[in-house]
Every structure is written in C-alpha cells, then in structure tokens.
Symmetry: C2
Subunit: 166 residues, 2 copies
C-alpha cells in the first residue's frame, strides 16, 4: 500500500456516507406538506446523539474560511461522546474528510466527500477534519453535545492524506 | 383599541425578540477562533428545550413558498412541550409573526419581525405563524422536540392581524 493517500472528493450520497452518519438534504425523507400547503417538510433527518453523561443539544454558528486544494491534512479529530451536525447557512461547496469511529484511522480508511448545499450529521466518534469550504467563506449551523467535560480527541496525521481537486 | 392590528415588521434584534426566544446570528455570542484559525465560532446561541416527557431533539428541513404582503393572518400555533428553532439555509428575507407563550394572544400582543439571514429559536409555547418568506422559496433547518405525543396547539385568529410591507 502506498504511503500516500490521495483523496479525490467523492460525490456525497446517503449510501456512501452511511458509515459516518447522515446526509441532511431535502428529498432524503418522505415529504410532508404542512402550513396550509406552504411548506414541504423533510422530517427527522439526523440522529442527534448528545445525551451521554448529562449532555444537552447546543447550537453554534461557524464562519469558515476557504481552503485551497491540493491540501495536505495534518490532523483529524473526533467527539467520542456525541454526534455533530453541520448545515451550511448559504451556498457554496465544501469538502468533508472523515474516517470511521474507532481506532485512529489508517490512511486507507480516510475518505473525502464533495458537498454542495447538503448538511452532514457525524455519528458519535467519527473522525473528521474541519470542514473545508472551496468557494469562499461559508457559514454552518452546528448541532453538538454540550457539557462541561471534555469531548474532543485530536490526532496528528503524518502528511499521508492529500485532498486534491477534480 | 382598534379591532384591527396592522403589523409592520420590526427590525429583528436580540433585545426586541427576547420575550419570544433567541436570535441565531453570527456576532451574537463571544467569538472563539477554532480549527487552526480557519473558523470563527459563535457558540451556544439557543436554549434547545426538548427533553420534556422523553422528548428528543429532531432535525427537519423545510422548503417554504413565499407569501405576498399585505397578508391577513388566520391562525397561529404553539408547541407547548418544547422549543422550535428555524435557521435559513440560504439567502432571503422572511417575516416571523409571534406572540408570548400563555393564553391565546390578543391582537395587540402579536408582533412581526423582519429577518434577513438570521435564525430564530422560539421558546417553548411561543405562539407563532408559519414563517413567511418574502423573496422566493426559502429553506430552513428546524430543530424541535420529537416524541410520539401531541405537541401542537392551533388557534383560529379573527382576521384582525394584517402583515404589511414597508
């Protein structure tokens, strides 16, 4: 196996992303029509898993600067006690780099997804790099576990994973 | 007091909206810089109050058609067991019509806010009309209480409240 892992972002689909969590997008749940016909609702898209050890759901807004590709990744992190959801608050593509929950990932286990409008809910413990906007600064609404204890593990990656553009 | 309540949407500020819940917008919490300087985080903006009677946080996506002003309102609703947050997933103005939690509102207690990019978290029991996009269809991420029991009261309004444009 090559020492290098070249990550060309994959198209984001619920099936491809299933090992890491859920995709948040219209059309990915049965559609209810509510509000006297004014609203199409796609319900209950994410498993928000934040109750461990007196955790509560908290909501943040992020504003993230764009990343340039190609990009060598130097770290990944995980939140062992809860899920973490990201929903863009405006238009723009971003790359999500993830690896399955469990032991720190081998380079071959790391995957990159190209997101364009969709949100993501990372299952508890899923390794991830900070989201990487491509087109300009991007806002995200984030839903995660709030508590006083520590809930973030960070690992250094060898410069084995390089995200490239198309 | 006039039988008619003309609602000219007010500017949305955290102070003006405080009787009804929280405003979700960048700049409304102390700023943390995370992700090696790439992300400005505005943390813990909303009190997500969904645990009553085994409730859990659920996430929906809405796609709402625009409303034309002036608009007579015929109903309002409330969720007596939990908060409900709305965050736009794209650009566009919308009007939020709200009244304080408690008895069904008198016309004089109803207020309208003009929102442009901000989200809202409605405190448990806050009366509200469905959000009214003005510029075109608008998407929202919604965070509310999920459970099997009923959590929505709807009242008919006399045609006393008319939302007007500026």
């Amino acid at each position: 196996m090559s020492r290098w892992r070249i990550l060309q972002p994959e198209p984001l689909t619920p099936e491809a992303f299933a090992p890491f969590g859920e995709v948040l997008a219209e059309g990915l749940a049965p559609e209810d029509v509510i509000n006297d016909g004014y609203t199409r609702r796609f319900a209950d898209l994410a498993r928000i898993d934040v109750a461990e050890a007196d955790g509560r759901p908290v909501v943040h807004l992020y504003r993230t600067r764009p990343f340039e590709l190609p990009r060598s990744l130097t770290m990944m992190e995980r939140h062992p006690k809860g899920s973490q959801a990201f929903m863009p608050t405006g238009p723009g593509r971003y790359v999500a780099v993830v690896a399955p929950a469990g032991d720190p990932p081998q380079p071959a286990a790391i995957r990159a997804f190209l997101c364009d409008g969709q949100g993501l809910n990372l299952r508890r413990g899923t390794w991830h790099h900070p989201m990487m906007p491509l087109d300009g600064p991007l806002g995200f609404l984030v839903i995660e576990r709030g508590a006083d204890d520590d809930n973030c593990d960070v690992i250094a990656l060898p410069t084995d994973a390089v995200v490239v553009g198309r």
